[in-house]
Every structure is written in structure tokens, then in C-alpha cells.
Amino acid sequence: MGERVGIEVSLAASEAIKMANVDVVAAYPITPQTHIVEHLSQLVADGELDAEFIPVESEHSAMSVCCGSSAVGARTFTCTSSQGLALMNEIVFIAASLRLPIVMLLANRSLSGPLSIWNDHSDVMSIRDCGWIQVFAENGQEVFDHVLFAFRVAEDAKVSLPVIVNIDGFVLTHMIEPLEFWDEDTVKKYLPDFKPVNQLHPDKPITMGAFGMPIIFTEAKKAQDEALIKSKTEILKAWKELGDLVGRYYQPVETNHLEGADTVFLTMGSIGETVSLAVNELRSRGKAVGQVKLRLWRPFPFEELREAVKGVKRIIVIDRAISFGGPGGPVASEIRAALYKERTMPAITNFICGLAGRDVTPDDYIKMYEKTEKMTKKKVREEDYIIYGVRE
């Protein structure tokens, strides 16, 4: 196995991209993604990574360049955040429908306004329905592993879809963590050369991105939906093989302290680690509390979620974004929808917190638990969502 080093997560991610021997990187600088592209351009400048680094004039062009380079069969990477993602939004959707296996690291940051450079999930939630495979990482090691995982899954001929790996801005991107690099043999075993399903090449001309009349549009979209749903098989396979190679087994839905739990926290991304501290504390106080972490956001892991929360009476869903004027946090509404058909649907409390990098400590999660417990006891009809920690 590879060596264990202390390194900033952004640099580790770049090293993983180098190990993936990527052919094209197209990116535009935006905080907090910058360290990743800076390091990548240095690797290219030093001849350590043989790739075309395209310093585009906008994120819109970043994703457009990615479409062009992926379409000719080049292994393609980009990286952005917040406003950058919003600017490339149009092309993000098209990349998925063109079935181009681009890999994107998204350093999650809140969407303006007010302008903020800090971390929450409002950026990725704005592209929930873009058709990409979307996973969340909780720590630096997971980021490193998931860069290689992302290329492996995206380029799988049975999948051929782009993948977003979500990494919390600053909280992950700028953290120095001890993590284990893979050795080259392991990377080679895990990630084969990219053999595109369709490729723009004069020897075999094809037309990509044709326009769809109403008579064929629905069928094209149905095919796209099926492709994303079916990609789960290869996702699971890729995680299993990753586990067999490096000993870390990832799951679409991961659990912590679920034994006999009547209440569980449900989280996505790096706050999972903070919540686990709160869960440990609550357990030590004799509370039957557990934790469910969603790693796979798209395709949504319905079965695994239902299995994980079987017998659970209450789920406290932690959201890092608001659906203004809507049913609360986007994660909570999906959880409600996913469990609606269950015979015994758990009660769901939705806290929205940690917006734009506002610190949420283990104590805060304990308070959320206590508030939930109180509401349960009093049998009050609770609000659809609570924005936690608002200063009044």
C-alpha cells in the first residue's frame, strides 16, 4: 500500500488527479477551489503531469472545454465552487445528456448573495437534477480515494456519465490531514485507460448533441434517467474493488451507532464527523441515537436508505441549504419523499445550519437533539424546518 503523509486536502486531490494521468484540466480560479488548480498547473509546469492545462476565461468555458476534450476521448477534469458552478450551470446539464465522463471536484461554497466564500451546500443543491453522478466526501482520505473512484465510474463503458465529488470548501479543501496515498500499481489496477464509447474522430464521424424534436425528446430523457439509475451497479462494484485494494469500503449510505437507535441524525459531507462526536456523547448519556450518512446523492440510494432507517422512529436531517419558500432543506425533502411509501415512516425533523461556514459544534447537534426530544414528548406538530442558530 502507499505511503501515509500529512498534506493539505486540495494538494492531495491534485496528486490523485495526477495519479489518474488526466489528459486535460480546464478551470477558472474561484475560492476555495484555487489550491487544487494552482497545484495542478504547477504539476504540469514541472512536467510531473503530462496534461493540457487550459486556463479558461470563465467557468462557462471551463465546462465547455471539458465537453470538447472529453468528446475527443481525453480524460478530463475540472474543479469549481459556488458562483463558478452557477455560471457553468447550462453546460453542466448538457455534459450529462451528452454522456461525457468528465470529473469535477466541487469545493462546496454558498451561493451569493450576500457574497460569501464560505462553506455550505447551496451550490450543489442548485444542480441537483443535472444528471451527474454526485457523491460527498467526509475527509481528505475520502477525497483522494474518490478522485480515482470518480474517473473509474465515469469512464466505465456501462456508465459513461460525468461525476461530481463534493468536498466542503475550506473545512476540507484547506485542511492538512494525514492520509494514505495509493501506489502506482494500485492505481493501474483500479483505473484502466479511458476507452470512450463515442469519440469525435475523423476516421469514424459521428454527430453529437443533435437537437430533439418532441417526438424523440422524452425517449432521450428516459434513456438518460435509466443510465443514471443503472450506474449504481457499477458504483457499488467500484467501491467494492476500491475496498479490496486499499481496505476502505465505501457505501451509498453509511451508518454509525445504529444498534437499537430510535433517533438518527442524517448528514452529508464533512459535518458527518462533527455529528459523530455528538452521537458518541449522547450515547454515553444513554440516548439511543445513531447516525446515517448519505455518501451517494445521485443516483439516490433509495433501498439502502430504507434499509438503514428500518425501525428508526425519528430522523434529524441536517441541511446545509435552503429551498426558499419551499418544504425546507433539499435533503430533508428528498428523505421525506424517499420514505413516504414506508409502512412505518419515521418522523422527520429538519434543521438547516452551517450556512456560509457558520460553525456548528457537537454541542449544537446535542441541542438539536434535545429540542427534537422535547417536541416528540410534547407531541407538538412541528415546523417543516428550523433554521438553527439564528441570532435574534
Binding site: D23, I54, E57, A71, V72, A74, P202
Partner: protein, 307 residues
């Protein structure tokens, strides 16, 4: 030119890379321009097209009129997509994953996709120095959405969003000079062309494809539908555009200007404006304003050719 008149049909390949059966309007000189560009480039090309007439008429799923690899992603990004295809291919060749066949990368779009919404992406691709060719098919308005004005619509032209009304006489701004914007990027080759002059057009596209680095060809593409002109007058009006000096044919190679067709004494601009319905509301006074402007611009260009 004389021998060309005799042997014209033999000088252009019969092979079509932009095939018949597309859904362009009758008399569409833009489709003709696309066809000539495709012939000039041959089969060793990758095309990235912007959204627009030419994309819509040639790619209704599951049909295609493209005999060469072709991709359409969105409206404003053809230059970025072409630059990505070029960069990807370059990396794959360098890493021994593809053989170098000298493939040409072509970005194409209409005047809206080029001089309005896609200007930034095009400027970026020029500045980065990709080895690619961008062709603007300029029909002087957003024809695909129903003849709305663009920054390439000429002064005085009536469109659905620059109508001739009681207070205004069509487009109130002068046409954005896209070839000059391309020249300002210090790219090695910029040219104007018109499908009414097919040999000139083909020669320029061939040259643009051969030159290392970014190249830009701006093709005046007559749109009978949008210009309110009988379809059989498209080629004729294109010739008038050139002969009146409204659209001079020239090229700028490594900064050096050259008129590729010196028409000598310019014909009055009135001859060009009169047959077109989009200019029919113009008063003699406005026609005179246009005449003045055309002469000025033409003289400025001529001075550049002597530098």
C-alpha cells in the same frame, strides 16, 4: 479569374461533407457557405457548432447532415468546445494514444453566437492560442429565433426587435466590426468572405486551416427570409454587398491587410439596400448617411492595406 469561370465546377470537390436534405430555407446562402467551408476542409476535421440555424437544420435527432465528426453543446461556447477538442487531441497525440493526422478543429456559429453571446468564449480561445479555426456565418440577425437584431445587424435594417416605427428607422446602431475584433487579438489569420465568391471563400478557409494558431473567417451569409429578399436573389445581393463596399473581401495575415478582391470604383450603396425589404423604410437622407459611412470605412480599410 477567367479560367476559373470555365472550369469552376471541376475545381471544387464533388464530395459533400455537409450533405443535401437539410432543412434550411430556400435560397439560404448560409447553408451554401457551410457547404463550401465543409468542402474546403475535407474529412479530416472536427466541427463544434453553436446553436443556431445551421445546427437546427442539420441535426434533428436521429438524422444528421454531417459526414464529419460534429458536436453541438450550446449557443455561446462553440469556440470553447472547439478549443477543448483541440487540446484533448493534442494531449492524446503527445501521450501516444492517438496518431497525429493534422486534424483541423473548426468552431462555427452565427453572428449572434459570435459577436454577442459567444464573444467572450471566442476571445478566450483566441488569446490562449489554440490551433483552431473559427468561422462566423453572419446573416446579420438572430434568424433562427425569428429575425431579432444582433450587434451585427447593420444600421437601418428592420428586424423584429429593431422595427421601423413612427419614431425609429430600424437598427439604430452601426454593425459591430467582428473581423477587426479578431485582428485585435493578434491572431495569425483573419479574413472576410461571402458565398457569392465561392473560390475566394474556399481559398481563405484552406489557408486558415493550414496556418498554425487561431484563425478567423467572417462570412457574410445572405438570409433571404430575414432580409426580405426573393430566394433567387441571394447570390446577387452578396455580390452587391461586396461591389458597393458594404462588405469588402480582405484578409489579414500576420497583421498584414490585403484586399482579396479590389472592386475598383464602388457602386452606390443604394443598389444594395433597395432590393431588400429590411431597408425599404429608409429615407434618402438615411441612405446617404449609410453611403457616407460605407465610404469612410472602406477608405480606412484601403489605407490599412497600404501599410
Amino acid at each position: 479569374m477567367e479560367p476559373l469561370n470555365v472550369y469552376a465546377s471541376r475545381l471544387i470537390t464533388k464530395k459533400e461533407y455537409f450533405t443535401p436534405g437539410h432543412r434550411a430555407c430556400q435560397g439560404c446562402a448560409e447553408a451554401l457557405a457551410v457547404r463550401l467551408v465543409a468542402k474546403a476542409l475535407g474529412k479530416n476535421v472536427v466541427v463544434a457548432s453553436a446553436t443556431g440555424c445551421m445546427e437546427i437544420v442539420s441535426s434533428p435527432l436521429p438524422f444528421t447532415n454531417w459526414e464529419v465528426p460534429w458536436i453541438h453543446v450550446a449557443f455561446e461556447n462553440a469556440a470553447a468546445v472547439a478549443s477543448g477538442a483541440e487540446a484533448g487531441t493534442k494531449a492524446l497525440i503527445r501521450k501516444g494514444k492517438l496518431t497525429d493526422k493534422g486534424t483541423v478543429f473548426l468552431g462555427m456559429g452565427g453572428d449572434g453566437a459570435t459577436s454577442d453571446i459567444g464573444l467572450q468564449a471566442l476571445s478566450g480561445a483566441f488569446e490562449r492560442g489554440h490551433n483552431f479555426l473559427y468561422v462566423c456565418y453572419d446573416n446579420e440577425a438572430y434568424m433562427n429565433t425569428g429575425i431579432q437584431r444582433s450587434s451585427a445587424t447593420p444600421f437601418g435594417a428592420a428586424t423584429t426587435t429593431s422595427p421601423a416605427g413612427k419614431l425609429t428607422s430600424g437598427q439604430i446602431t452601426w454593425k459591430k466590426n467582428m473581423p477587426e475584433i479578431a485582428v485585435a487579438h493578434n491572431i495569425p489569420y483573419v479574413a472576410t468572405a461571402c458565398s457569392s465568391y465561392p473560390f475566394d471563400l474556399i481559398k481563405k478557409v484552406e489557408k486558415a486551416a493550414r496556418i498554425q494558431g487561431p484563425a478567423y473567417v467572417h462570412i457574410l451569409s445572405i438570409c433571404p427570409t430575414g432580409w426580405r429578399l426573393p430566394p433567387d436573389k441571394a447570390i446577387w445581393i452578396g455580390r452587391l454587398a461586396v461591389e458597393t463596399g458594404v462588405f469588402p473581401l480582405y484578409e489579414v495575415e500576420h497583421g498584414k491587410y490585403r484586399l482579396t478582391l479590389d472592386v475598383g470604383e464602388l457602386r452606390p450603396v443604394k443598389e444594395y439596400l433597395k432590393p431588400q425589404g429590411r431597408f425599404r423604410h429608409l429615407t434618402d437622407e438615411l441612405v446617404e448617411d449609410i453611403q457616407k459611412r460605407v465610404r469612410e470605412e472602406y477608405n480606412k480599410l484601403k489605407i490599412k492595406t497600404t501599410l
